[in-house]
């Protein structure tokens, strides 16, 4: 059923626009007057002032890899994240863990693990899909580089950003 919204009846003053215009000008004038003396400014001076302390726990920053308490890759190179990543930012080159290695029974680990930060859309799907809780989105948001190559995070960078996570890390707890 169609709902007919009655148009409000305008008074003569409203039809002439001018009173409303003047009222609007008065409002903006108030803001202008206040802001000229540096009061009531709501923006931040970014590089000097940051919002970091107020970042929510669920903030999705740069995706990173984490190591476990033994210093071993948590990642088993299953490549699920590579497949799920919508913009295909992740490139993994898996390798077999050689005979005689302490972690031989894990069988696979990534030889190379690149995340192209110019492609990543910070969706968090990689974190969600990872069966080993090896990849996490952290709070780093200021990812910069002078060229495209610098914007590709390789395995080393990813571990540096990610650090170590001990024990069984529940993806959804406050530790993240």
């Amino acid at each position: 059923m169609a709902i007919v919204v009655e148009r409000p009846k305008l008074t003569l003053a409203e039809k002439f626009y001018l009173p409303a215009v003047l009222a609007g000008l008065a409002i903006t004038w108030k803001h202008l007057k206040r802001a000229i003396f540096n009061k009531g400014i709501v923006t931040m001076q970014y590089p000097e002032e940051k919002w970091d302390a107020n970042m929510p726990d669920w903030y999705r920053g740069a995706p990173t890899l984490v190591a476990d308490e033994h210093g071993k890759d948590r990642c088993v190179a299953c490549q699920l994240c590579e497949f799920i990543c919508p913009p295909r930012a992740i490139t993994i080159k898996p390798m077999e863990i050689p005979e005689g290695d302490k972690w031989r029974k894990v069988e696979k680990r990534p030889e190379e693990f690149d995340i192209d930060m110019t492609r990543c859309i910070y969706c968090g799907l990689c974190e969600e899909v990872c069966p080993e809780q090896a990849i996490y989105l952290r709070k780093d948001y200021s990812i910069t580089g002078l060229n495209r190559a610098e914007m590709v995070h390789d395995k080393e960078t990813l571990y540096k950003l990610g650090g170590v996570r001990e024990g069984l890390v529940f993806k959804w707890n406050e530790l993240k």
Partner: protein, 397 residues
């Protein structure tokens, strides 16, 4: 001997006219461009303040933060220079599929009319006996209308030549906008001519110097610094300035002023009438496809049009270069300079007002603008002419 010869040559009437005109054009044009870049900066600052932001504050002189991480010393004034430099050095990208000739022509067509309009604006009284108008035309105001309405061609052409739907819509809107305000704009200032009896901007200003600014209800005639000291004189001036006719004429003149002011907003494509470039609907409107200096010419054109429009308002209604208690240029070069200053101060205040309005009002839909033009301003302006005529005929001084 040589110097005498040069002086003699420079004083031959036509040579004198030639070089003073060139000099005036040069100086006025450069002043305008400076005013334009200051206006762009003011626009950014004022918009920031109105929205509770700080605005550009980083670019100091020479274009870096001075003293490390503190706000720069000059409140970001370097931005005025940095903006044009950025625009000048950008790649001038021309998309494929545009009609190249018209694509290149359009920005120039937008830019030239406002600058031509400057020619008839009296921006000062006299300086060393030289009139501070580039061209003292008898049809000054008509000339302004004729030239100013040309800039719509540039916009329409830009929209058409870009070969893209958004600029095209912008161009169409621009022409539909023009037919709705131009008529009432022309009609709105007829009362001014009826009262001053001239189309010449200089004569209109001279009239205002004697009889007071057109937007004021009364004017102390012959009021001067001298009469401040003699209360009797001052009182006399005030009494002489008040008349029934003037008081009655105030009503049609205020109506004229408002209609003309609003039409100037439409003429310069400023909010609330910036339909041709409506960012939220048309990406960038008619200049969507433009880059670098071509875009900058549109930009310059818009701000130069604001300047010219404000100049026209100031000359027609706000007394031009005149200011109470300040004598004109015939009392010495110093006062001549002060008069020029007064003109620029008035224009700047109007420009600030335009900026202020821009950041206050939402955009009109274009059927609303047409309705406002045809059903609102047009009849009111017509009625206004009759009102003025009746007042002038029935109420004598």
């Amino acid at each position: 001997m040589d110097l005498d010869l040069i002086l003699y040559f420079l004083n031959i009437p036509w040579v004198f006219l030639l070089w003073t005109t060139f000099l005036k054009s040069f100086i006025f044009l450069n002043l305008t461009i400076i005013v334009v870049s200051v206006t762009v900066f003011a626009e950014r600052k004022v918009s920031a303040f109105i929205q509770d932001r700080v605005g550009p504050n980083r670019v100091g002189i020479p274009f870096t933060l001075i003293g490390g991480k503190k706000d720069s010393f000059f409140f970001g004034l370097g931005q005025m220079v940095a903006d044009p430099i950025k625009l000048l050095t950008k790649e001038n990208f021309v998309p494929g599929g545009v009609n190249k000739f018209y694509f290149w022509l359009a920005p120039k067509l937008v830019m030239i009319p406002p600058i031509l309009v400057l020619a008839v604006l009296p921006f000062g009284s006299t300086l060393f006996g030289v009139e501070m108008t580039i061209a003292n035309l008898n049809i000054g105001v008509l000339y302004i209308f004729a030239i100013a309405s040309l800039s719509v061609y540039g916009i329409t052409l830009a929209g058409w030549a870009s070969n893209s739907k958004f600029p095209f819509l912008g161009g169409i809107r621009s022409s539909s906008q023009m037919i709705s305000y131009e008529l009432s704009m022309g009609l709105s200032i007829i009362p001014v001519f009826m009262i001053c009896g001239s189309l010449n901007l200089n004569e209109i200003i001279d009239w205002q110097v004697v009889n007071g600014w057109l937007v004021s209800p009364f004017w102390p005639k012959g009021f001067s610094v001298g009469s401040l000291l003699h209360p009797a004189d001052a009182l006399h001036a005030f009494v002489a300035g008040v008349s029934l006719q003037r008081l009655l004429l105030w009503i049609p003149l205020l109506i004229s002023f408002v209609i003309f002011l609003v039409s100037i907003f439409a003429e310069t494509n400023r909010l609330p009438f910036d339909l041709p470039e409506a960012e939220q609907e048309l990406v960038g409107g008619y200049h969507t496809e433009y880059a670098s200096m071509n875009f900058a010419l549109f930009f310059l054109g818009e701000y130069a049009a604001m300047f010219a429009g404000s100049g026209a308002i100031v000359s027609l209604f706000l007394g031009g270069w005149s200011c109470p208690l300040i004598p004109d240029g015939s009392h010495g070069w110093f006062w001549g300079l002060v008069n020029i200053g007064v003109f620029f101060v008035k224009v700047s205040l109007l420009l600030l007002f335009m900026i202020w309005v821009r950041w206050t009002l939402p955009r009109f839909r274009y059927d609303q603008l047409m309705k406002l033009g045809w059903l609102g301003f047009f009849p009111i302006a017509l009625f206004n002419i009759f009102l003025t005529a009746v007042i002038l005929a029935l109420v004598r001084n």
